[in-house]
Each structure stands twice: as C-alpha cells, then as structure tokens.
C-alpha cells in the first residue's frame, strides 16, 4: 500500500510504530501534488518547503513520545483561512499578494495539534459558488471521470480544491468552510466525507468572511473516523469570535462505531423534490434500509418551509456578503486600481478585483439592504429563517438525525453549467436549510451512479450533537462500503 493511500487514523498509528517517518509521508504527498496538481489545479499555493520543515519537526516530536494526534499528518488548507506568512487569496484577484501577518484560529489549532500543511486549496471566489468555476486562479478538475468519457467535471464548491485534493490523495484531509453547502456538496461530488459542524463549534476568527451568520469551518476526509479526528483538533471555544460556543469538545472519535439501537432517523417528505432522479431516490432508499438494518427506527417527518430555504438564503447570504466585502477598497490591502477621486479608486478596484459572481452577490445584497427594500426583502427573509429553524427544532423533538440526499445530481461537466444563476443556485437545495438553522450536517459517499460518479447522502443533527452524526455516519459508511476511487489519484495516473 502506498503512503498516500492511508487514512489519517492509519497514518497516525504507522508514524507512532515508526513504520515510516513524517518526512516520508509528507514527501509522498508533495510528490503526488507535483504529478497531479498541474492537471487538477486543486492547490493555488503549494507550500512544499514549509511542509518539509514541519515534517522534520514532527519526526522529532514523535521520537520524544506523547505527540498530539495529527503530528506529521499532511493536510490541505482551503485558501480562505489566513495563514501567517503564506499568501491567502480567497481565489480572488482583489486580494493580490495578501500575506496575512496572523494565523486563523482553526489553522492555529491544527498546527498546535502537529499537522503539516502542504498547501492552500482552490475554491470559488470568496467561497461563492458550487462549482469552483469562479476561482480567479482557474477551474479545478474533479479527479473522477464518467465511465468511458473524458469530459472534465466540476468538483463542486466552494471547497472544491479541498475535495479534489482529498479524493485524489494529494492530502490526507483538508479544511473546508460551509456557508450554504460548501463542504457537503463538493464532498458528495468527489466521493469523500464532509462535515459541517454546528454554527459556533469552530472559531471563525481569521477565516475570510462571506456570510458571518452562516460561515462554519469543518473537515473533509476520506473516512468518517478521520473527520472525527480532524474536527476534534479544529473545534473549541475562542474568545476572539464572540459567536464561538463555550461548550466542551467531546471525544468525537469514540462516537465511531457506537451502537445505533433505538436511534430515530427522520426522513423529511419535502426533500422528495419533484424531478428527483429515480437513481438518487434509490440511493436514498438504500440509505434508509441500511440504517434500519443497523437498528434505527425510521420516522417520516415534515419540514414545511424547506421550499423557501434557497430564496431566503439568497437574500441573507448576499446581504451579509455585501457588508463583509465592503472592506476590499484598494486602500488597506490587496490590489488597487488608481482613480482621480477616492470614489473612482473604489469603483475601479472593486470592478476589476471582483469576479462576476461576487459582483452580482454584492449588488443583490446591497439592493436588499437598501432604503425602501429592507423590510420587503431582508426583514422578511430573517422572519422566514426563524420558521425554517422552528421546522428543525420541531423535527428533532421526535427524531435524532435526519437523512437526505446531499445534492440533487452527481458532478457535471465544466461546460454543462447552467447559464441562469438561479438554476445554478439549485445545487444547494438540500444543504442550505441546515445552514440557515445552524444545524451540524455530514455528507457520506454511498454509491456510484450509472455513469460511475459518486453520490452522497446527508445526515443532519441536533445543535452541538456532532457525535450522533458521526455514530450514524460511520454506520452508514460501513454498510455502504464505498471503496471506489477516482481516475486521477496519487500513483494511479499522472
């Protein structure tokens, strides 16, 4: 077995048994990145030298004994997390050569846990998108191909670079961020595990903001156990983020393999959207059967405001984005376009610096917050958000976890993207409601469709009950036995 084929759990054990060194493990990943990143474009910046230094340090820590869990584990970091001394782009031109002078809390936590960062992964510009087609640093290729078809496919988004890197074994795990599905949907498209924790579980400090009431960091890995290991290292209270929860971080890994006897799994009627493919419906039904077999009771539930989730999201998220992105003004950091007046400087900088989708969202957000429209759009959306959250609160009175598909389709081709932005937004239809309500949610790869592409199922849990999600997710993973691997991965093709 190649070192790049190991899971985080296996590699952590191998390092401690001295089967291989952290230097060897990191070198294997750097070599794989060298061979495949030119094609996949999963990384915007590769930090091979820093990774090698960190790996050497990890070997010393491992020799001394009592090394933290992630010591020597090579990870990819979504290029939305500020990393001290390493250029951070948010996949936007407007940040230019922005090099943070500080480290985000989540990445600082991972470094303190011994992790080795191999690079900064590609994303949709400012995490706005579901395809990775909006990156100013080029599109990412999904490492999967349809059977007998060489059409390049999108990895999903916005954490598409992270998903592609993990799926292609160019990292053992990666950080993602999820605002309306940006961890779960790319995880499903790339056949990996993606966990969006409860809002407040991971600190947002030092993560470039998109929509602050929704943004949440989480792990993307090849197994549920690895997601549990990574989340434990990422999570925790942080005084620098006032919305970070002061709640103890449990031993997530211990939840893997826990008995599901007596757990109640809700199947929400409203997610049986008209037009759902028979294939996706069949995968969902199989997931239900697997959990029933594992000892769960299956309960039909209703989340009546589901159909309003997306439209509500496309008011709230752009509104918050228009406010958060006001800081990119060409004065304090990033790229600048000169102008005769201050306004001209702002207008030129923001026109040239932001891509089309980001501009569109900033403009929609500005509109829904502007005088005369605020009550009709923004205030109404906030009220409907309350109703969406109540749906979940009521459902969780009778069930422990909800099971739904993660995304309406499998990955599609770079050239098959809908031209209409509204059609594009429908990708997030199953992931957005949980984001709106702040619930934790986990995507697990379950099977391949008839064209050979992965499909995932989503588990949604109670606030701060990631443990039950992990327990149910690991049972689903075991029953599904998803062992397929993509066409492009370390050692398989270059």
């Amino acid at each position: 077995m190649m070192l790049t084929d190991l899971t985080i759990a296996q590699a952590a054990e191998g390092l401690r048994k001295r089967d291989f060194t952290a230097a060897e493990l990191t070198n294997a990943h750097v070599k794989a990145i060298d061979a495949l990143n030119g094609r996949l474009n999963a990384y915007i910046t590769v930090t091979a030298d820093q990774a090698k230094e960190a790996a050497a340090q990890a070997d010393k820590t491992l020799s001394a004994g009592d090394a933290p869990t992630l010591t020597g584990i090579p990870l990819g970091i979504k290029d939305l997390f500020c990393t001290k001394g390493v250029r951070t782009t948010a996949a936007s031109r407007i940040l230019g050569d922005f090099t943070p002078t500080y480290e985000s809390t989540v990445t600082a936590n991972l470094l303190a846990n011994g992790a080795v960062f191999v690079g900064k992964t590609n994303l949709d510009e400012f995490a706005m998108g579901s395809t990775n087609l909006t990156s100013a640093f080029g599109v990412v290729e999904n490492p999967w191909r349809r059977n007998g078809d060489d059409t390049p496919l999108v990895p999903g988004g916005s954490s598409g670079g992270s998903a592609a890197a993990v799926a292609a074994h160019l990292a053992m795990g990666a950080t993602g961020t999820d605002t309306g599905g940006s961890i779960r949907q790319p995880a499903a498209y790339c056949g990996i595990v993606g966990l969006k924790p409860t809002y407040g579980r991971c600190s947002r400090w030092g993560t470039i903001a998109f929509a602050s009431s929704l943004d949440q960091a989480g792990p993307m890995t090849r197994t549920v156990e690895d997601a549990a290991i990574m989340l434990a290292a990422m999570a925790g209270h942080d005084a620098k983020d006032s919305t970070s929860a002061n709640i103890a971080v449990p031993d997530y890994r211990a939840a893997c393999g826990r008995s599901l006897k007596g757990l109640r799994i809700g199947v929400p009627a409203e997610y049986r959207a008209p037009g759902m493919s028979a294939e996706l419906q069949a995968v969902w039904d199989r997931g239900v059967a697997m959990l029933r077999e594992a000892g769960c009771e299956i309960v039909d539930v209703s989340l009546p405001h589901t159909k309003y989730g997306l439209a509500t999201y496309y008011i709230i998220a752009p509104a918050e984005a228009s406010s958060n992105l006001a800081r990119y003004d060409g004065v304090r950091f990033g790229d600048r376009r000169e102008g005769a007046s201050l306004n001209e400087l702002y207008e030129r900088t923001r026109h040239d610096g932001f891509g089309e989708e980001v501009r569109r969202r900033v403009l929609v957000g500005t509109y829904v917050l502007s005088a005369g429209y605020y009550d009709a759009y923004y205030l109404r959306a906030q009220k409907i958000r309350t109703l969406i959250q109540r749906d979940f609160t009521q459902a969780f009175e009778s069930v422990d976890v909800l099971l739904t598909p993660t995304a309406p389709t499998a990955a599609f081709g770079h050239n098959e993207k809908p031209e209409d932005p509204v059609q594009m937004y429908l990708n997030d239809v199953f992931t957005v409601p949980a984001s709106m309500a702040g619930q934790p949610a986990l995507s697990v790869p379950v099977s391949l469709d008839s064209t050979g592409l992965p499909l995932g199922l989503q588990l949604i849990g109670r606030h701060f009950d990631e443990e039950t999600l992990i327990a149910v997710g690991s049972a689903l993973e075991k029953a599904a036995d998803f062992t397929a691997r993509p066409t492009f991965r370390a050692g398989a093709a270059a």
Binding site: T101, Y308, A326, L363
Partner: protein, 96 residues
C-alpha cells in the same frame, strides 16, 4: 420582477462597483431574475414571527472587558497596503 436601469445604477454606486453601460444591462437582467425568483417568499405568512438575527444557540453573546488587549502592530497593519507613506495608508486627494 423587473429592475430599471436607474435603480441598478444607484445600487452599483452604493456598492462602489464601477460598471459600464453593457455591464449595467447584464446585471439589471440577472438581478431582475434573482429578485423575481425570491418573490416566492411573499406567499409565507410571517405575521407575528420574530426575525432570526443570529445563529448562535446561546442567547446572550458575551461582552469582553473594555480594555486594550493588543496593539503596537503598525507594521503588521500596514504590511499589505497597496501604497503607503511612512505610517499612513494613501488615497487620492479628497480636499482641495
């Protein structure tokens, strides 16, 4: 819903995003489509429903001590400035 050009221009101005005439027209059409789709929300009865203003599950956000905890980072703050003069950010002349 359809959005008129004057409103689109005003929004672009408020957002400080410079758009030429053709871009304004494209944005007008696309924003009109998005806002039309959002009108589905008008069918929801929100009478008496309080707005959800935060996602945090703890009702009261903590207040920190009103004290200086950081500082003396002039070079860090200015490190990424596109243009600086000594300890200052620069902008075009605002007052004649």
């Amino acid at each position: 819903m359809s959005l008129d050009l004057a409103t689109t221009r005003r929004i672009a101005k408020l957002a400080r995003i410079g758009l030429d005439d053709q871009e304004i027209e494209t944005v007008r059409a696309q924003m009109g489509g998005i806002l039309g789709w959002i009108e589905i929300l008008n069918e929801v009865d929100v009478e008496g429903v309080p707005p959800m203003v935060g996602t945090s599950q703890t009702t009261a956000l903590p207040q920190r001590q009103d004290a200086v905890t950081d500082g003396d980072r002039q070079n860090d703050v200015l490190a990424n400035a596109p243009d600086r003069e000594g300890p200052f950010f620069t902008v075009p002349k605002v007052v004649e």
